[in-house]
Symmetry: C2
Subunit: 118 residues, 2 copies
DNA sequence: TGGGGTACTAACAAAAGTGTAAGTAATGGG
DNA sequence: CCCATTACTTACACTTTTGTTAGTACCCCA
């Protein structure tokens, strides 16, 4: 969320790169946890705590950060219920659901080539 | 290259994550330059210097690093000709070529949703 | 002898990403 | 009043990624 420094090549490269639809798309799902989270949410709505249980070592901080980023990018919808203790549910947007078949193919690619290579 | 520290959760999370075929695949093409490089190479062999000209602000160091990583991962084949000045050519392997249709779809996703969202 | 061309490499520095540890708000139940 | 529960937030530290700058080897050609 912090303001971004405009220094040097780092930022201008970023601008150049984001012009590409392909890298734009990959950046949305980049990072350590996003695709895993999206995969879980493909099965339906989940609460924060449920998601947390799905990943043995993720910290609450990381989960929050990733979910916020996904929300910002329009991939996840967040619903807060005014209860105590709080209840928050996360679900995929249509935009994210459109990744489904692509993920499927990427996963197949991974499965096939991992064995050949490692 | 450098030895990896085995400390803490950072590494164990990495291990956990790489178990997933999907994240395995995405990691291969993650980072700032890899997909751009692969895209260029889809058109055919290129020399180091030619690739460099394709990207206005990439540094030689970065290009080298990315090409080395792609080579390590079996996505790019590197051919050195014993000439002076040196000549080195890079081309995609079959494994990388298999990304073609997936990249196409990701790119379409990017094109479509970028406009809707930003 | 000295420069030009190509594909690098090395040492360092900045930036982003990820993890650690502790704390917060709110309310119902004992 | 105190504690448990849930979904966070904050301040800090570590690790990886990306960029900066300068230099290398090699041989040909003038």
């Amino acid at each position: 969320m912090g303001a971004r420094k405009q220094s040097s090549t780092y930022t201008s490269n970023e601008k150049y790169i984001v012009e590409c639809d392909l890298t734009y798309a990959v950046n949305k799902i980049g990072g350590r946890w996003k695709i895993l989270i999206i995969s879980k949410l493909e099965k339906g709505k989940m609460r924060f705590g449920e998601l947390k249980k799905e990943f043995p070592y993720i910290t609450e901080r990381m989960l929050t950060l990733q979910l916020r980023a996904l929300e910002q990018d329009g991939l996840v919808k967040r619903t807060v219920y005014a209860e105590v203790p709080p209840r928050v549910e996360y679900e995929l947007t249509e935009m994210a659901a459109a990744f489904g078949p692509i993920f499927q193919q990427l996963s197949e690619w991974g499965g096939k080539h991992r064995k050949l290579f490692n």
